[in-house]
Every structure is written in C-alpha cells, then in structure tokens.
Symmetry: C2
Subunit: 175 residues, 2 copies
DNA sequence: ACGGTACATGTCACACCTGACATGTCAAGG
DNA sequence: CCTTGACATGTCAGGTGTGACATGTACCGT
C-alpha cells in the first residue's frame, strides 16, 4: 500500500488539494511512484474515512484542501521506519536494458542511443533544478535527493556511451 | 504488457519450463521486473494461444518446455526497438528515499543505515557474479548489465554514507 | 516404508492501477 | 458574449498483479 504512504508523505510536506497532489506525482514522484487522479481522489476519501487526513479548507472550483492528522503522521513514520521495505520494483526501462543484448548490433545501438537521449534530458532537468535552488532551505525539493538523481543518471549516461562505442566495433567483440 | 515481453525475452535466451522462468524472474529480474508463478503459467498459455511460443517437450513431473516461435521473436524485437518505452516506474525504495527527509535525525539515520546494509549486500552479490564469469562468453548473464548494477549500487552506497555522516552532525545542518 | 523437500503446474478472490467517460468552475482574450 | 484552456473532482470497466489454496511428482535420507 505505497500509494497511501506517498499521499501521506506529500501532505506532511504541505496541505494540498487532490489536484495539486496529482501534479506533484507527475512532476516530482514520477521516477519512483506514479498515480493518476483517478486513484488519488478515492485514496484521499479512504484516508479521510480512516482519520489519517482531514479537510482543512474549501477553495475555488469546489476544491478541497487536505492536511495530515496526528494519526496520519504516526502511520507515515511507522511505515518509513518500522515497516519492512518492499525492494521489488517494476521498471520497464530496466527490463529493456536486461533484454537489449538479445538484439543485433544495429538495433542494440539504436535503442541505446534512444535511452541516451532520454538520460541526457533528465540530467539537464535535474541540473537546472539544482542550480535554481537556494543553498540551505527549500521546502519543495530536497537537495541530496536531487544530487542522487544526477549521479545515477550520470552513471547511466557513461555506461550507455560505452555500450554505443562497443556496438560500433566489429561484430562479435561485444559482451 | 511488459510481462509478455519479459517472458518472450527469457525464452529467446533459452527454451524453459514455467518453473524455470519463475526462478529466473526471482533471481535475475527481480530488480527490474518481478512475476509470480500464478502470473507466469496463465501468460504462457496466452502466448501459446497467440502463436508466440510453443511447447517443445514434456519432461518429468508433468513439466512442459516452451520455446519462442518466429512470430514471438518478431514481436519481441518490435517491442524492444519500435515500441515507445514506458519510463514510469514503481519503486518503493525510491519513494522511501524521497520521503526520508521528513523524519527526524535519529530515524533518518536509522533508515539510511538499513538501506546501506541492503545496498552492500547487493554489491557483494554482483561482484561475486562478475568475478565468477568467463571473460568473453556467458549465455546466462550479460557482463555490461552486471557492471551497470555494480556502478549504480556504488553510487547509492557513497550517497548513503554521506547522508549518514551528515545526520551525525548538529541538527539543522542537514539538507 | 516413510517423511521431508524441491520440483511442477494450476486456479481464484481480491486489491491495485489505467484510460476513458463525465461534470462542472473560473479567468483571459477576442 | 463566447470560446478556449487550465483548474478541479469524481466514477467505472477492464486489465494487471498478489497471496492463498490446491494437487500431484520425484528423489533422498533414514
């Protein structure tokens, strides 16, 4: 039930409407957890019924602002600190990388090129985010997490460049 | 429909029974895609009905060995090369890392320590795998992919060590 | 002969997630 | 005034994935 805790975590940072949460999932959380509004609104209703969040205000266009309750805060902490982490993941890009060696040289090279373009795009976005951040305090994003994203994408970029170089060498020399 | 292509990819490497596929998912693919036998057996039946795989032998204990067909091979290639990759993922560890800054110093330190233990365990397993591999040919695992796993886990280890060191410094200095 | 364990396949209820459908609000620009 | 687009919430059918239940086979050690 990670969705539940993802929502609690976002509301711990700041009270929000379902619409705002949807955008945060799409913008900041998409590389670790995604959720559509069709999942978020029912989840907020369930969390409210369970007393873990509450409506703290009504805004324009029928919007409802939710905030985390003490019970919700306790449940979030319990999950982060005490619950056994589920290390399994579903990552289509990882699966593709795992299967790419099955392709012939030309196809392999092309798919690595495509991945490289994507990684460099991510890297640029993260570096812009880093340079635009105030050095000490930013309630929206956490600097070390951005730094980790940059490092992982850097490793991916270097690895892809090596694979592309290899795939340009005489066939049979790969692997 | 990644499960379908994961199964096709594994059968492209080598004809296998459902039981063997289940083990491969659990041992090699768990960090990018997981599947239980309760999903694999019905998927094999669907793939067979679609003509993408076929039963090529019956073994002991009612086992059936499946192999990929030319149509299956074409579908696998199409998916790897032409299909638009789905970059979204579901990664509970990533979500936890994203939310960990919300914890107080002691809890944050403890969760990073727990993650570090796990990363070092992974790293050891991957390094053993690498050292046990023949330099040029190994039909089971692909050396560059193992190398990538080692590098990513190395980045994670370094980052976690930095965070743990920071969390030992005076409160308020973090972030 | 018997018990334990790994091998091997299958089904099913339930929960989770997606994409499509549905409805309505508010502000800005032509 | 009217249209466009962002804001805002909600439902639902159908697909995907999980854990439990179910059944049976082959080998090994005692």
């Amino acid at each position: 039930m990670s969705l539940r805790h993802a929502v609690l975590g976002l509301l711990e940072r700041r009270p929000s409407t379902g619409y705002e949460l949807t955008q945060t999932f799409d913008r900041s959380l998409r590389t670790s957890w995604q959720a559509r509004h069709s999942q978020i609104y029912p989840e907020l209703a369930k969390l409210e019924a369970a007393g873990l969040v509450e409506v703290v205000g009504h805004g324009a266009r029928r919007s409802k602002t939710y905030a985390i309750t003490p019970a919700g805060r306790a449940e979030l902490r319990r999950w982060l600190v005490e619950a056994q982490p589920d290390r399994s993941q579903r990552n289509e890009s990882g699966l593709r990388l795992f299967l790419t060696p099955l392709l012939d040289q030309a196809d392999r090279r092309a798919t690595y090129q495509r991945d490289l373009a994507h990684v460099e795009h991510e890297l640029t976005a993260l570096e812009e985010l880093r340079s635009g951040m105030e050095p000490a305090t930013d309630p929206e994003v956490f600097a070390p997490q951005v730094e980790l994203g940059i490092r992982i994408n850097g490793v991916l970029r270097d690895w892809l460049l090596e694979q592309i170089k290899r795939a340009g060498e005489p066939e049979g020399a790969n692997q």
